[in-house]
């Protein structure tokens, strides 16, 4: 046993000697290619991998110590030449996908990049069908790879837009994969606050990877994508809700919080209605800036078209522009837009009209607001009353499908009147409300009729019962008299 341990330790020591001997031997690839001054060799001098002790043969294979070129670049010695296609990424992943190996180099980098790339939109097969669309080297370069924190890196925040744009701003190239995908993202980005600051050398504002991710970039139609409509608010909030991160820019950081409470936020985040607007619907995505004061109604109007049209032709348009009041926002606020109710209309404490239209300073608008509210209140009241009567009749087992059918019209008038408010014209408003009131009255009449019919049935039964009782009693009396006159015996 002792002997065995002795022999083992000898072997280990001697092999260690051989290894340290090899280290001191000259790397023939480097020395030769340096002499040749190839661009690859030049770039490689600053490569982070060289700093970590890696050399040409670690990626290209071959015998680095052979002085003879044929020997050094012998395929039998594992020489592969320039890696092609997927070979590139696999080669990188040999170390970058192996946590143990990365630890040896004292690296704290993640090791899932290649896995992420495979799953990403760039991991699909390219035009040739032989390799993935993007390899590691597509973005990171091949021989001059430096840390992402190094401003010389193509994936340093300030350089990312240009790196991505290499392909994404090239219409002829992009057309071959997705003809409908825009190629003006960089152009738009440069007009955005993010892009402008990025250009000025601030690495903090969002660039492509901040929103789209890096290795794991997914199509916008992929529900897992960080830019899938449902995920956008959280993606933006990643920076915009981070008070410390945003501190130097002096803008609020409660937009996400407010948005989550808004009718839009509830629709998108709670009800998962992807047609509801996310941040980018109003601010733009690549060209993200807050909309200008006078263009708000246009932005909101992309969905709320009728309201926007009515507003634009209303007397408020000019008044708002003159006073530099943001259009829709003045009454509805911006991020925290709540479901509007009739309470917003009129001159009560909750109402928004009276903020400008005070009784003394602006009596005309004050009265109009009051009257519009009265009209709307009466329509709401009449509709609710008609509905209640219809329900009552229905609960009594009466058939009121006809009235229910008409009730739809009254409800429609109410919905339309909510839109019609935005014309800020009392007459036009009344035109929408009046037919609704008429229908509600009609339905009320029908429902009342149905309830009356219910009581009519009971009365009918009462009358019939009375008749039958009288008949039964008189029949009974008749029988008794009949039998008094002759008991029959046999």
């Amino acid at each position: 046993m002792k002997h065995f341990a002795y022999i083992l330790s000898l072997v280990i020591i001697s092999s260690g000697l051989v290894f340290s001997q090899a280290q001191t031997r000259v790397d023939q690839c480097v020395s030769c290619h340096n002499d040749l001054e190839t661009p690859e060799a030049k770039l490689f001098q600053h490569d982070i991998h060289r700093m970590k002790g890696l050399s040409c043969a670690d990626c290209h294979g071959g015998n680095r110590y052979a002085e003879d070129m044929d020997q050094a670049m012998d395929k039998k010695a594992g020489y592969i030449g320039v890696p092609k296609g997927d070979q590139i990424s696999s080669m990188c992943a040999k170390c970058h996908g192996d946590a143990e190996k990365m630890k040896q180099y004292h690296s704290s980098l993640p090791t899932n990049q290649f896995e992420n790339l495979k799953e990403s939109v760039h991991g699909r097969l390219d035009l040739t069908g032989n390799a993935r669309i993007a390899q590691c080297s597509t973005c990171h370069n091949a021989h001059g790879i430096v840390s992402v924190k190094n401003p010389a890196s193509p994936v340093y925040p300030l350089n990312i837009p240009a790196t991505c744009a290499k392909c994404h701003a090239n219409p002829t190239y992009m057309r071959t994969y997705d003809p409908s995908l825009p190629v003006d993202q960089l152009e738009k980005y440069r007009t955005s606050i993010h892009g402008i600051r990025n250009k000025k050398g601030d690495p903090k504002p969002a660039e492509c990877a901040s929103c789209h991710g890096s290795h794991d970039i997914k199509s916008v139609h992929d529900a897992k994508s960080s830019v899938y409509p449902l995920n956008i608010p959280a993606t933006c909030a990643h920076c915009h809700s981070d008070a410390a991160y945003m501190k130097q820019y002096g803008i609020p950081t409660d937009q996400f919080e407010k948005y989550s409470l808004s009718v839009h936020g509830v629709a998108l985040l709670k009800k998962h209605d992807i047609s509801a607007p996310a941040c980018n619907s109003c601010h733009g995505n690549h060209g993200a800036v807050p909309p200008g004061v006078e263009s708000i109604s246009k932005v909101c109007g992309t969905c709320h078209a009728l309201n926007a049209d009515l507003f634009s032709s209303s007397p408020h348009k000019k008044a708002f522009d003159e006073r530099k009041l943001p259009e829709c926002e003045t009454c509805h606020s911006n991020h925290e837009i709540l479901t509007p109710t009739e309470k917003m209309l009129g001159t009560t404490a909750d109402a928004v009209c009276s903020r400008c239209h005070t009784e003394k300073e602006n009596p005309k608008g004050f009265i109009a607001a009051q009257q519009m509210r009265t009209l709307m209140d009466s329509l709401i009241h009449e509709e609710a009353k008609a509905k209640m009567l219809v329900n009552e009749a229905e609960q009594r087992g009466m058939e009121v499908s006809d009235a229910e059918y008409k009730l739809r019209d009254a409800h429609q008038a109410l919905l339309q009147s909510r839109t019609a408010v935005h014309a800020f014209n009392e007459e036009k408003f009344a035109e929408t409300v009046k037919p609704g009131l008429a229908t509600a009255a009609l339905v009320e009449g029908e429902a009342k009729g149905a309830v009356e019919e219910y009581y009519f049935r009971r009365m009918g039964l009462g009358v019939a019962t009375l008749i039958i009782t009288i008949l039964a009693v008189s029949l009974f009396l008749y029988i008794r008299r009949l039998e008094k006159n002759g008991k029959h015996k046999v």
């Binding site: 409800h411 919905l415 339309q416």
Partner: protein, 154 residues
């Protein structure tokens, strides 16, 4: 009622007898009326002459202009029957999928349009613009001779 031939009761007091018989006769007549009235009313054809819920007759082909839309009542819900510019018929639920307003055909835009919030659907019922979250449900249109019939799509 045939009187029994054997037991003709002797009349005790003519007054009382007449009164009782009067009530009895009147009662029978009133009873008959109270039974016959519901039956006769039942037999009177109702306004809507038949059950028509699975399908509904919209009218004659000639009643619908090309490039127009008509609201047809289908059970308890409105259906929009559209005759396209090339004369084909299509029918969709006329209940907007946004807030249940009744939609209409807009000749100028060539779409199905909801007046409440400017929702638009194409002539296949797909929501193409505005707030509607879902397409309109489609109904089947069958042309039987001259008659246009709308039925539920099963």
């Amino acid at each position: 009622m045939i009187a029994s031939p054997e037991d003709t009761p002797k009349a005790p007091e003519p007054e009382k007898r007449d009164f009782l018989k009067l009530i009895l006769g009147g009662g029978i007549i009133a009873w008959l009326a109270s039974v016959l009235y519901p039956i006769l009313s039942y037999l009177k054809p109702p306004v809507q002459s038949e059950v028509e819920v699975q399908s509904v007759k919209a009218g004659k082909i000639s009643a619908f202009e090309k490039d127009s839309g008509t609201i047809v009542r289908f059970g308890n819900k409105p259906v929009i029957l559209i005759r396209t510019a090339n004369g084909n018929f299509r029918a969709f639920s006329a209940v907007c999928t946004h807030l249940a307003c009744t939609v209409q055909y807009r000749k100028d835009m060539g779409v199905i349009w909801c007046a409440c919030h400017n929702g638009k659907y194409d002539l296949n019922g797909r929501n193409i613009s505005g707030p509607p979250p879902r397409p309109l449900d489609e109904y089947r249109v069958i042309v039987q001779g001259e008659e246009v019939v709308i039925s539920k799509k099963s």
